[in-house]
Symmetry: C2
Subunit: 166 residues, 2 copies
DNA sequence: TATTGTTATACTCTATAACTATA
DNA sequence: TATAGTTATAGAGTATAACAATA
């Protein structure tokens, strides 16, 4: 198989990820998408941060992030308090309600993933995660982005990944 | 790291695939998306087929497939000829123009992937492709789907993958 | 003048449902 | 009556650009 063919196949499989994501999304409660869960997860892992920082971590435009956060704020899952050091910005924080929802969403997703990956070893899962992380990093280099901060203020719902960050 | 945390991390990385896809899409010429390229690739690998079959392979609704194909037909990249055995259906075929475009698209994508994955070994690429294929298969089982046919009529632009099919 | 964030608009991809033609 | 495909409509996600407030 030529190199180009291998890349073509990879591209096809990357597209297939959308299929899995849509299926996971369908299983989530009410107005929750996997996108919602990822935002909550980043706020949980990264602690309080501003919109710009969140947009960097999500690797989407700030305008997109702004709308997602506005939605989560309406739901009462994210709190936006004024940033005393820069009045243009607001500081985002997971509310207790948001944290509770994150646990719920994570468990729901984990259950479905466990079902779809029932014949996977823990190492398979780790390996796929690591390769995807590397993939993302390779393309982030083409369009630079920062890393997650080393320290974080609040207790995360789940343990952080030490070897690679989103 | 708990199992749930590992799944949560996997979900996050699956979301990050969208970032890579969008970046690949931006590099494609005029009205081409990676979706377009995948349709052309499937028609190249699978030979002539009907809309329903293509929708299965893409794992999206037939209505979605219908519109994509209509677009490609307008561009002259896909030909829709009447199916003599069932006048409700039409048979889809890659046109020479479509095949030429596929080569172009594949090379363009391969070039960008090669750039983003410059520090990857060929085996890394294969492994990621294989794991994604397994991931998709695991979820396809929850919502069953068929495999690609063994034989195919036309010369494919690229070699087929023997061990796993989309 | 530059930066942070928000809003308006548009585009893509997707699904559901109604519809046509044929089996 | 059921099936293959198309079209209409709606929803989610994203990007660009114009804008407001502040640095």
């Amino acid at each position: 198989m030529t190199e180009t063919a291998q890349y073509e196949e990879l591209m096809r499989q990357l597209g297939a990820v959308g299929v899995v994501r849509r299926q996971l999304d369908r299983s989530l409660p009410d107005g929750c998408s996997s996108g919602t869960a990822v935002v909550l997860g980043l706020l949980d892992r990264g602690g309080e941060m501003r919109i710009g920082r969140l947009a960097e971590l999500l690797a989407v435009d700030m305008s997109v992030t702004s709308r997602h956060v506005a939605h989560l704020a309406e739901l009462g899952w994210v709190d936006r308090s004024p940033d005393p050091s820069d009045r243009r910005s607001r500081i985002l924080r997971l509310t207790p309600e948001g944290r509770a929802r994150l646990v719920e969403l994570s468990e729901s997703t984990a259950q479905l993933l466990a079902q779809g990956l029932c014949d996977w070893s823990a190492d398979d899962v780790r390996q796929l995660t690591r390769l995807l992380s590397r993939l993302r990093a390779g393309f982030a280099d083409l369009c630079p982005e920062e890393e997650m901060p080393a320290g974080r203020p609040a207790e995360p719902v789940f343990a952080r990944t030490p070897s690679f960050t989103m």
